[in-house]
């Protein structure tokens, strides 16, 4: 059986009958699991299509596209990075879709015993280090800064802040116990429940709504296929996956 499959695969490779259609998706790392799962739906109905995931912070992915990286779809964790690409004419505006919403949460290591149930508890001297995404390039850091500013805690917490290059690194610092608290998305906290726990959610009125836009990149060599992927994100299949992984329904 295996030999037959192998022979068939080899034959396909040699004869070149299977046209290799490839899409490269630059995905904000908080969308990793969701896009991978939606990607499996996508390829199941399209034999011969291969998806490549390029994961990072939205700011980092934006800079790569500006530098001419061969990307077909950009999935950002904030409108700002998408807006900047749109102004530079690097995405196809009519393909742009907002497809998911998320919420901030403060997490802490599972074994930590400090009472951390409201924003002011972050000032507790036993909370020595707090990780947020680097606000210069990481959306979760931009939302966290906004929330802390609204709460009047931003200046006072400065000495405790440690900056991460993306939201998963922030989560990792918390799960390794290197920091006492961290700002991530609720959906990230959910992927590492064995090592971190949710402490509290900063009020959703303290920061702008966290919405995820997706769009086809201007220089995509497979714009139709890329557009089909973006459309799947807002289709019922996409919505089901997103809801199951904890993303909020769109208003």
């Amino acid at each position: 059986m295996r030999a037959t499959i192998l022979a068939a695969a080899l034959l396909a490779l040699l004869s070149g009958t299977a046209p290799a259609e490839e899409l490269t998706l630059s995905v904000a790392i908080s969308m990793k699991e969701a896009t991978e799962e939606i990607g499996r739906h996508f390829t199941r109905s399209r034999p011969g299509v291969t998806l490549h995931y390029n994961l990072g912070s939205s700011g980092e992915l934006q800079k790569q596209i500006e530098a001419g990286a061969p990307v077909d779809v950009f999935i950002s964790a904030a409108p700002r990075q998408m807006d900047e690409l749109q102004q530079k004419g690097l995405i196809v505006p009519e393909t742009r879709r907002v497809f998911a919403r998320n919420v901030l949460v403060v997490v802490r290591p599972l074994d930590s015993s400090v009472d951390l149930s409201k924003p002011a508890d972050l000032l507790d001297p036993r909370i020595r280090r707090i990780v947020i995404g680097n606000p210069r390039s990481v959306p979760v850091g931009q939302y966290s800064e906004e929330s802390l500013r609204t709460l009047g805690l931003w200046e006072r917490l400065q000495p405790k802040l440690v900056l991460a290059e993306n939201v998963r690194q922030a989560l990792d610092y918390v799960s390794r116990g290197e920091v006492d608290a961290g700002f991530v998305y609720t959906t990230d906290a959910a992927v590492r429940t064995t090592r971190v726990k949710q402490a509290f959610r900063p009020g959703e009125d303290t920061y702008r709504p966290i919405v995820y836009p997706a769009a086809v990149v201007k220089d995509s060599r497979r714009p139709a296929l890329a557009r089909a992927f973006v459309d799947l994100l807002v289709a019922p299949e996409g919505r089901t996956v997103l809801a199951r992984l904890g993303f909020q329904p769109l208003p």
Partner: protein, 221 residues
Amino acid sequence: MTPDNLSALALSIRVALVATLLNAAIGIPLAYVLARRRFRGRGFVDLLVTLPLVLPPTVTGYYLIVLLGRRGWLGGPIYGLTGWSITFTWYAAVVAATIMALPLLVRTARAAIESVDRDFEKAAFTLGRSEWRTALEVTLPLARNGILAGLVLAFARALGEFGATLMLAGNIPGRTTTVPLAIYTSVQTGETGEALVLVAMLTALSCVVLVAAARLGARAA
């Protein structure tokens, strides 16, 4: 230059200087022992010191986290006792730079010490000098240029350390952001102009250092 870049430059020089001093304190005795003594585990010590030269810096950084992190083999007990942890402090940058630079000093200094004619040492022994004083008064002075070249290389390596530093010290502007990390962030955020100044400075400094090392090396030979 922006204040962040200035502080990155100041921090880089401070980290590289302290790392070079630590290298001198640890690396010169180590190079001497590896060059002149035969003992059990010598091959293992040599391997351990040289590994950071060939391992990806992120792997070295990972080992440092396992060892020194808040829950590390050494870092855990320290954190338990004092509530202090080295991660995300500038000391962490010093540790990373020291470990990464050590093989360059040890290998260069060791070769210089090995090339010292043993007859001089034997003469010193005959004249009643202990091994300790012979090393200080005969061997090391004769290997001086090679050791200095090694220190210069170690300084340059410490100045340019990136991977292990990022993992152990993080990238916190004003506290642990060294020049290589500032360049990384600037390029990441599209502030290429700022990065360019730092790139030029680091390149110039590294050229000076390499020329200095080459001159010292030529005199040693």
